[in-house]
């Protein structure tokens, strides 16, 4: 096995990150040209690409673990280079996206059966993942910004996919938000680059050697960057697009909320704080506390609004607003434990939220259920889906052994360590209670109330409660979320990996 | 008469040329009708050519500079062909029946 891997890494060489990005990109382009009716060819391509990518990521992971350095450089203009580089943090995100992409692809194939424009959909779907992986592997801010914009482009068609007025409106809103954000980020990056030179991500940050007179500019730049990234990370008040964007098909929502867009914003914030500014230097600048307050406000605000949504996906969307800010919160608290909490939530939130969206999609696709009020008794009709949903929801609340518990635990510990428990703990408590308040009634309806008739039953229960390609993805992701929490202290678990990253971030 | 003869004829020509140029510019800008615009442009051209010819003057004893002359000739050719094209288009515009 090791020899095989050695041979593989040898053959793929240092350009492995590039191949990983291209594996989905090229297939995405090819899929555009696949005839609408050639279902089998498209499915094969999709799955092949996803599996190949996952395998490549596996090899990369193996290589990184064995201390190999992967770097792809490409100078695009004087003093401006694209850099793909695999470090511990990027591996965390790349692995997450590659894994969830595979699952989501399976799900999407099942979900979009018989709907029009599938080639277009899957083409952009692949591009979207390429962009995500690209920005995960970006080795400097320039590369990051390029993939960040690319991501916006690739997701727009997915949001607009249904083509209804509502979808197009949502897509427009999405664009308006994310492009403005992207532009501000661009401005900030250029500004920073004019002050600090090449913006390669370095663990521990690169800015702390700058003279004191640049500090006020650095603060402004930080603000711009956070606004730019915060739009995608849905920090309040920049979150307006997210609840609207849930009109997109369920696999898209799943991807958007768990892996791609929202996560890209959060990941960017992590990158900027840790590998550009350096968390300790950011603290010196005094920018962490405001960031933390915004995150805290977002957490509470998102949860509160989620309470009032009857539309299931909308409720989940507001939940995302809230949950993603845990990552930001963890980033904004100075101290290794909080860092662990924030970074590990990057993975945990992804696993849990994708489960929830898959399940929501299953309800809609199988029974036509779109609203919480229609969910009475659905647990009996769709037990596995509802079980997955339950696990995801419990995780969101922070109930052990789900992954969310681990995140919250470390956030709490981090807050204690940093001496900010006084305001962080109430936020965590309030959020957990609110999460319970908007998730538990759903579970109650699903498991305890007698079933009414379903709004629109498309898929009859046969051997399984719904189409297999719809059923297994949520089950798998829910299991992963469970395992990530239950075996959090296992080597290579997200938690252990986050601790590894953290150990390197604090010099 | 002394005063008058002291005025360089070259200067006079240049002034006249620039004057024509200005009139032509004014006309091109102001007139709405395209035929008038074309005429104004030709007046402008005449002004420029006049100036060029004046520039070619190198005193009584020297032959005039050939280069501006060549330029003027080229310029006239260009102006004529452009005017012709413009007039053709105007004709076609008159004939066009769509809309």
């Amino acid at each position: 096995m090791n020899e095989l891997l050695n041979v593989l890494t040898e053959a793929l060489g240092k350009n492995l990150p590039l191949w990983i990005v291209l594996s989905s990109f090229s297939v995405g382009l090819v899929i555009f040209f696949v005839q609408e009716s050639s279902h089998r060819l498209r499915t094969t391509l999709n799955l092949l690409a996803a599996v190949v990518k996952l395998a490549l990521v596996g090899v990369l992971l193996w290589g990184v673990y064995h201390g190999q350095v992967y770097e792809v450089r490409w100078v695009i203009a004087p003093n401006l280079e694209l850099l793909l580089h695999a470090d511990a943090l990027s591996m965390l995100f790349v692995t997450l996206s590659a894994l969830l992409w595979l699952v989501t692809t399976v799900y999407a194939i099942g979900y979009l059966e018989h709907s029009p424009h599938r080639s277009r959909f899957f083409g952009f779907f692949s591009l979207c993942v390429s962009a995500t992986v690209g920005l995960a592997l970006a080795g400097n801010l320039v590369t990051f910004v390029m993939f960040y914009e690319f991501l916006t482009l690739a997701t727009y068609p997915l949001v607009a996919h249904k083509g209804s007025d509502e979808a197009r409106k949502a897509a427009r809103l999405y664009l308006a938000y994310t492009f403005t954000g992207g532009l501000l980020l661009l401005v900030a990056v250029v500004w920073l680059k004019s002050i600090a030179g090449p913006l390669t991500f370095v663990q521990g940050g690169i800015l702390d050697t700058l003279p004191a007179e640049t500090h006020s500019a650095l603060r402004w730049i930080f603000l711009l960057m956070i606004v730019g990234l915060g739009v995608k990370a849905a920090l309040v008040p920049l979150h307006g697009w997210l609840p609207k964007a849930m009109v997109a098909p369920a696999p898209v929502s799943a991807l958007l909320h768990a892996v791609a867009v929202v996560k890209a914003g959060a990941f960017g914030i992590v990158r900027v704080v840790y590998d550009v500014y350096g968390v300790e230097f950011a603290d010196v600048l005094g920018v962490l506390v405001p960031l933390g307050i915004v995150a805290a406000f977002t957490i509470v605000y998102g949860s509160t609004l989620a309470l009032f949504q009857d539309e299931l996906k909308k409720r989940l969307a507001y939940s995302t607003v809230s949950q993603v800010s845990y990552i930001v919160l963890g980033t904004a608290i100075l101290g290794p434990l909080a860092t662990v909490g924030g970074i590990v939530h990057l993975v945990h939130q992804g696993l849990m939220k994708i489960t929830l969206f898959f399940a929501a999609g299953n309800y809609a696709e199988t029974l036509g259920i779109h609203r919480v009020s229609q969910m009475n008794g659905v647990g009996k009709r769709m037990p596995l889906t509802t079980l997955a949903f339950t696990l995801g929801a419990l995780g969101m609340i922070g109930i052990p052994p789900m992954a969310g518990f681990i995140s919250k635990w470390y956030l709490g510990l981090g807050a204690l360590e940093a001496g900010v428990l006084l305001w962080v703990m109430p936020v965590l408590i309030a959020s957990s209670l609110l999460n319970a308040a908007y998730f538990l009634p759903i579970l109650y309806r699903a498991w305890f109330l007698p079933a009414d008739s379903w709004p629109d039953e498309h898929i009859q229960a046969q051997r399984w409660e719904t189409h297999g390609m719809l059923l297994w993805p949520p089950v798998i992701t829910a299991s992963l979320a469970l395992l990530a929490g239950l075996f959090a202290s296992l080597p290579f678990s997200p938690l252990e990996w986050a601790q590894l990253i953290t150990a390197r971030e604090y010099k | 008469m002394v005063g008058l003869s002291a005025i360089n004829p070259q200067f006079l020509y240049v002034c006249a040329g620039i004057f024509l140029f200005a009139i032509g510019l004014w006309g091109t800008w102001l007139h709405a009708h395209y035929v008038r615009k074309i005429i104004s442009l030709n007046v402008m051209g005449a002004g420029v050519f006049l100036t060029l010819i004046a520039v070619a003057y190198r005193g009584e004893h020297l032959p005039p500079d050939p280069v501006p002359h060549a330029l003027v000739l080229t310029g006239i050719v260009v102006a004529v062909s452009a005017t012709a094209l413009a007039l053709v288009i105007i004709r076609r515009l008159e004939d066009a029946t769509d809309e």
Binding site: M146, G163 | A96
Partner: protein
């Protein structure tokens, strides 16, 4: 073959083609695209020559410099020739099918090749009068091509285009006259060496700027552009927007940085930049309001030219390496726009053919039926907005960079506003690709129409966005002028 011959060939090949196409009308199309292809090949060769052997100067017919027609090819000129040749090639391939079964078919090719000739000759012109002649040739052929539209609107636009062109040329000619009167030469290099800061020089500069601003449709002299560019046949629109205005811009660059360098104060540069900024805002806003696709594209050109002018005030204060970078970025931006806009117009032409109109609101079904064309529009849109990867992105990057480095942050605001407006107008268009309108039965589009459009769009985005690094080294072989 003689290296300098490449300079001659890029001009004479299309000219020859134009003559042949006039004679053998039935083979006009073939002659057209073959000569375009050969020209493009020669353009590559020219660039290679310049790159290897440095600046090429050539006095035609053996006349000494100052008397005869002189050609001058440096890095910038070679790059522009390559740009124009590639766009012309793309449009030529496209036009074969586009004009199939149309009456203008035979008229198109000679004029089209003449346009290509004029463009290349203009880029390679070594003296100012030569420039005048090529400018007129360009104006006349472009106007005639516009008139091929044959509809009233097209004719009116062509006429106005012609008049404006003539007016600009006249202003330019007057400036030449003044310069000749003062320095007794028309050679750009010689004038640059002799130029004094005096009222005459100022007058000449302002006249030239005014004339060329009119020709490149710089705000507020842009009024003629939208009707002209939006009413011409698709390949013509493409060339007009991508190349013809770019020719005027090229001249401004040449004059500004090489000939009139001592006169170009930062104040003047800022004034020019301000016009550019207004062009950006006004052009983008108008594009956003445009009802028709081609009109949108035309207004977008106004805005994009504004960006190009916005480089001037920053170039005026930067020095050294950073200035070279910025200059390269400006050229890159111009290239990016040329390819993107030509791709956009070609794609618009396809839509227009199949939908019978180009009203944005009603394009939904057609865009869905023509995915590749829509994809081209999307790619072109990326380059127009300045999203990565595209040459425009890099251009904007350096523009921003320079604005921060020089502390002229107000350009940042313009750029942000302009980009947002651009996003809005591009996606207002693309949004219709996702509408629910009944999809038109999927038509079969000739590959020769879609492929060139796609190629140009890819060139503008991925080509220039990721592979433009050599541009700066090409431009290192650029001219005599002030520190370029």
């Amino acid at each position: 073959m003689n290296e300098a011959a490449s300079v001659v060939w890029v001009i004479s090949l299309p000219l020859l083609g134009a003559l042949l196409a006039t004679v053998w009308r039935q083979y006009a199309a073939t002659i057209g695209w073959v000569s375009s292809a050969l020209t493009a090949g020669c353009a590559v060769w020219l660039l290679w020559v310049v790159q290897r052997a440095g600046v090429q100067e050539l006095a035609l017919g053996g006349w000494e410099i100052g008397l005869g027609i002189s050609l001058y090819a440096d890095g910038l000129a070679a790059v522009m020739v390559l740009m124009s040749s590639l766009v012309v090639l793309g449009c030529s391939v496209y036009a074969r099918h586009y004009f199939r079964a149309q009456r203008q078919h035979e008229l198109f090719w000679p004029l089209w090749l003449l346009l290509a000739t004029a463009l290349n000759a203009l880029f390679l012109a070594g003296d100012l009068f030569n420039v005048y002649v090529t400018l007129e040739l360009l104006g006349i052929s472009a106007s005639a091509l516009t008139a091929l539209g044959a509809k009233r609107a097209a004719l009116r636009a062509a006429l106005r285009y012609l008049v404006v062109g003539l007016l600009g040329s006249m202003l330019y000619l007057m400036a030449i006259t003044l310069l000749y009167a003062a320095y007794g030469t028309l050679n750009a290099v010689q004038i640059a060496e002799a130029l004094q800061v005096d009222p005459l020089g100022w007058a000449a500069l302002l006249l030239m700027l005014a004339g060329l601003a009119l020709k490149m449709a710089l705000f507020p002299l842009h009024f003629w552009l939208p009707p002209a560019h939006s009413n011409a046949p698709a390949p013509v629109s493409a060339a007009l927007s991508a190349l013809v205005v770019k020719a005027a811009f090229y001249l401004v660059v040449r004059l500004w940085f090489e000939v009139f360098a001592p006169l170009t104060t930062p104040l003047l540069a800022n004034a020019l930049g301000a016009l550019g900024a207004m062009a950006v805002l006004w052009g983008s806003w108008s594009a956003l309001r445009a009802e028709r696709l081609k009109l949108l594209a035309a207004y977008s050109s106004v805005a994009q030219l504004g960006y190009l002018v916005m480089f001037f005030p920053l170039l005026a204060v930067l020095e050294g390496e950073a200035r070279q970078w910025l200059f390269g970025a400006m050229v890159l931006f111009a290239l990016s726009h040329a390819f993107a806009k030509s791709a956009l117009f070609l794609a618009a032409g396809i839509l227009l053919q199949y939908a019978g109109h180009d009203r944005i609101r009603e394009l939904s079904g057609t865009t869905q039926a023509l995915p590749l064309t829509t994809f081209v529009i999307a790619l072109a849109g990326i380059a127009l907005v300045g999203l990565p990867p595209s040459g425009a992105f890099l251009g904007k990057w350096y523009l921003l960079d320079a604005a921060f480095k020089t502390g002229q942050w107000w350009w940042v605001l313009v750029l942000v506003a302009g980009s947002l407006l651009a996003t809005a107008y591009v996606f207002r268009l693309l949004g219709h690709a996702f509408g629910h309108l009944p999809a038109v039965k999927r038509p079969v589009v000739a590959a020769t129409q879609e492929i060139p459009a796609l190629a140009l769009a890819l060139l503008a985005t991925f080509g220039l966005g990721l592979g433009a690094m050599s541009l700066w080294s090409w431009l290192a072989h650029t001219g005599t002028g002030a520190g370029l």
